[in-house]
Amino acid sequence: MSAPYIVRFSLKQRVEHLLTMVIFALLCLTGLPQKFFTAGWAQTLVHLFGGFDSMRWIHRGCGILLALSTVLHFSTAITGMLSRKVAFSMVPTRKDFRDLVQQLRYYLGSEPHQPLYDRFTYKEKFEYWGLVAGNVIMVGTGLVLFFPVIVARLLPGQLIPVAKVAHSNEGLMAFLVITLWHIFNAHLSPDVFPFDTAMFTGKVSRERYAHEHPLELARLEGRPPPTPGEAHDAHQDEADQGVA
């Protein structure tokens, strides 16, 4: 008999996600009021954090924590890759480019089946690489804004207003991506509504895994990969049993 659930995320990954989530929320709460300082909601938040000065220090503190967690994540990822024991499962392959096109065509009604996914879907890889690129930009530009005098001694001074624009706009974009894209995928999507617990418990039911990651499940269970039609029929049967 197959296990009722699959362990998808390790404790380290879950702690990393929780830390990123808390730090990101605090960075948005203390950063966006600085961008939209004339708005009423921004002034309310400034008062809640004890004024502009203390809010900026909380923002810088969280920024340092984000920088440290990013460095730690990169070191762990590079060490894992150098060990040759960790699969490059988060690196996009040609299949992800094809899956994206097939999935969008399916949403538009011009494709009969959704693609079958392996360990990570193209959406998850997109979010991951968006976070990686976003963190590099935010940490880099944040440090320029934190130490403008030192930066101006070493590099052209024009870099400081450039860093301000990049930091401010990338921050807003990250906030919008998380609130629109991530909140939809983790909370509002019909497959997980109201809350996807996988990132907190580390576990996903086998039934859901068969629907969302059928290629990885087949590999884990030593079966040949299903065809799109088989995966669709299996999911439909399970859904019908659930209804009955």
Binding site: I78, M81, L82, S83, R84, K85, V86, A87, F88, M90, V91, P92, T93, R94, K95, D96, F97, L100, V101, L104, R105, L108, S110, Y122, K125, F126, Y128, W129, G130, V132, A133
Partner: protein, 97 residues
């Protein structure tokens, strides 16, 4: 000259790139077998494997939003063009046919 290896082949430890699927496969110390996949595999230096990782990640990051807009507008264009395609006269029969 580069030596290509078949999927499933027993290989030495190292990094292997599949130019057909763009997959990078690490093989641990002691060697192992290449995964089953379409196309063949090429052994690459560690620096190439590590360098390709962010290149593929960032390329995908740029590709996804653009592909979304392109597919959406192509679909819209298809919907707009559909009535005209239906209304088009059927081709004339071949002479003498």
């Amino acid at each position: 000259m580069a030596t290509y290896l078949e999927s499933g082949a027993a290989v030495d430890s190292g990094y292997y790139l599949n130019p057909t699927t763009w997959a990078i496969e690490p093989v641990p110390a002691g060697g192992g077998r290449l995964p089953a996949a379409e196309g063949r595999w090429l052994k690459v230096p560690m620096i190439v494997a590590l360098g390709l990782t962010p290149v593929l990640g960032l390329t995908f990051l740029m590709f996804l939003p653009m592909a979304g807009f392109v597919l959406f507008f192509l679909h819209l264009a298809g919907l707009v063009a559909r009535p005209f395609r239906k209304a088009a006269p059927s081709p004339a029969p071949p002479p003498g046919g």
